[in-house]
């Protein structure tokens, strides 16, 4: 018997919750990081969170000025 859509949807939601990485945590492939930037993002007025970019790929680059 095929699982009903509601079961699939509940299972998907549970998987999503498990995969959600807490802010500042170390991430792995498959994680779904969520984060709100307290001071916003310079250069993209009005964007305050990773979720604001849903629908497009986001490249987060960690760098230093030294």
């Amino acid at each position: 018997m095929r699982p009903s859509l509601s079961i699939v949807s509940v299972a998907a939601a549970a998987a999503l919750a498990l995969a959600t990485a807490p802010a500042g945590a170390q991430i792995q492939v498959g994680d779904r990081p969520e984060f709100t930037f307290r001071d916003g993002l310079y250069g993209v007025p009005g964007a305050t969170s990773l979720a604001d970019f849903r629908g497009k790929p986001v490249l987060v680059d960690f760098w230093g000025t030294q």
């Binding site: 990773l50 497009k56 790929p57 030294q66």
Partner: protein
């Protein structure tokens, strides 16, 4: 760094690059540094707040997040550059994947994914009429409508933020785009009503006029890489004085601060 800036310029609004400074410097140091290298104004986002960590010691390192919010790759930026470009290219070319979507909702999401919210809403109306007795379809339809509503609300809130923080030209452009795609769906039009009321005022028209000269100064600053920074800083401070107490003044002051500091940035 320069390669990621180049990627942002090449793909424009189809991707988002976020640079996170992780060596403990403040934005007051980061922005003049980036200005001097002509990296500002490229569409890249700048921050010192680290949204998450990757299991690496050296920098630059990165994480690539897919359009639906999942981390698909992480590593050292220079080593993985080719891989990252290939992944981005794949995302930009592909359509959103929606698994387990009931067939009656395919057209709803097709319009939603194109950003055609009113059309998605009307498709939802058709599905609702046709499947009025099908609880399962109606439940999924409720989710779809919520997703459309939340997206319109989020975009509307972002436009309000732009108005409040001195970006009237950007606010108007985004508002026009949004109005176009909600037209014909009354419930969605209502979600934009507040921001429409804020844009349709004399005060907003005045702010737009002033913003045009600020934007010119901002572009000149970015294009010059802060050359003649002191001179530009002086002009920006004068602008801030002339528009004291407005959000435009706050923007001008921030730009003046960046311009003034660029001279002390090492080459």
């Amino acid at each position: 760094m320069p390669t990621a800036v180049k990627l942002q310029k090449e793909y424009g609004d189809a991707i988002q690059v976020i640079f996170v400074e992780v060596q403990g410097h403040s934005m007051d140091e980061v922005l003049p540094f980036a200005l001097k290298r002509k990296w500002l104004g490229s569409g890249v986002a700048w921050t010192t707040e680290r949204p998450f960590r990757v299991d690496l010691n050296g920098i630059p390192n990165y994480a690539l997040i897919s359009p639906d919010g999942e981390v698909v790759s992480w590593g050292y930026s220079n080593q993985d550059h080719k891989k990252v470009v290939e992944l981005i290219e794949g995302f930009v070319k592909s359509k959103p994947q929606r698994e387990d979507l009931p067939k009656p909702l395919v057209k709803v999401y097709k319009e939603f994914d194109k950003g055609e919210f009113a059309k998605a809403w009307k498709e939802a109306d058709k599905v609702e009429a046709k499947y009025a007795e099908d609880a399962q379809v109606l439940r999924f339809l409720g989710d779809a409508r919520r997703e459309v509503r939340e997206t319109v609300e989020r975009r509307s809130q972002r436009i309000s933020w732009l108005v409040e923080n001195g970006y009237p030209l950007l606010a108007e452009a985004q508002w026009k785009d949004l109005v176009k795609v909600v037209k014909g769906a009354d419930e969605l039009v209502a979600l934009v009503a507040d921001v429409t009321a804020r844009i349709d005022t004399d005060e907003f028209a005045d702010m737009k006029k002033a913003a045009r000269s600020l934007v010119k100064m901002e572009q000149a600053l970015y294009e010059s890489g802060g050359k003649d920074g002191e001179k530009l800083a002086k002009k920006l401070r004068k602008f801030a004085e002339d528009h004291a107490g407005t959000p435009l003044a706050a923007r001008a002051t921030q730009l003046a601060d960046i311009a003034a500091k660029v001279g002390s940035v090492r080459a």
